[in-house]
Symmetry: C3
Subunit: 139 residues, 3 copies
């Protein structure tokens, strides 16, 4: 992975074999990012995405392997108890162009991944909402 | 729904049971937003998306219910005759990770939705294009 | 196609019959864009998206025709050997809401396409990575 910061924007290249959430964390900690909006495109050959079953307050996950193009990756970087937190959803198309996605648990880059991080000056923390069962933005 | 504004960026949390387009409208009117770019992620259990049949100049819609993760939500906020207007497309993944989407008519949040609104200083109005059958950007 | 520039953001309308990558190139060259992040929504009735088979270092493409809504279009504009380069991935939903996508080769607009280009002050060039078989960000 390599990246460069231009004012409040970071452009990163995540490389073959690297995991996307790991690298977003590495950049965020190194650059002390407290609040940001993330988008990306790229290719993955192994990714796990979840769907939150609201009645059970639990994530169920699906793992996909093969040649996939990441067609959307959208999310936020912020904090929980002042520490790094990221929440990313991703979808990717297979060899027939069929698209699969959900809440991103892990994605291994197969060729390259190009990430754009828009840093926002400010902070938003998270707190566990027990009724929902998730860590939600706390304003 | 709650949100905070940081310079030209709004970070919002839309809550369970709330409709996404309604809340985008509420924020836009309260903050007097004339032009913006929107992206979001979250979870919905009931959403309707349309496809525009160009030959008929008419939208046909599909409604999806169940546990879905919003994997992409992209759009613009601007004006038509000086009044609030928003145009959003959305896609969401089901329990198997299969993704469905189109022109967003309505989406009810099931757990949470995290929206980022990038406000742009300027205005772009819309006008009905009778040949196309849609309200298009007018420069 | 028409567009307007507001500080570091370009809002564009791509019109029926026009090809999206062509118009992104036209805007980029006219405005001398060296680095940017792109997102869009709209409608297409003819698009080709590829998937990169990493073992073969080769793109395979799928072409889709009919009424489709572009649900995600994400990418970067930068340079290779100082010249314009863009890398875009796209997905679109059909009349049943099923979503298909990948690396964007071409997409013909059927009704309208609304593009937002966030210009970043700086430059990132590309270089062919022979191991991967793609032109990657060079920092």
């Amino acid at each position: 992975m390599e990246y460069r910061k231009f004012n409040n924007t970071i452009i990163a290249r995540i490389d073959k074999g690297e995991e996307i959430l790991d690298k977003i964390k590495d950049i965020s900690i190194k650059e002390n990012i407290k609040l940001a909006n993330v988008n990306a495109l790229g290719a993955t050959n192994d990714f796990t995405v979840g769907v939150f079953k609201t009645a059970e307050k639990k994530y169920y996950s699906n793992t996909f392997k093969g040649d996939f193009e990441i067609v959307s990756l959208t999310g936020t970087i912020n904090t929980m108890n002042g520490e790094f937190y990221t929440h990313i959803h991703m979808s990717a198309g297979d060899a027939d162009g069929k698209v699969f996605g959900g809440h991103l648990n892990r994605a291994i880059v197969s060729a390259t991944c190009e990430i754009v991080i828009h840093i926002i000056e400010g902070t938003v923390d998270r707190q566990l909402d027990e009724e929902i069962g998730l860590n939600l933005f706390q304003f």
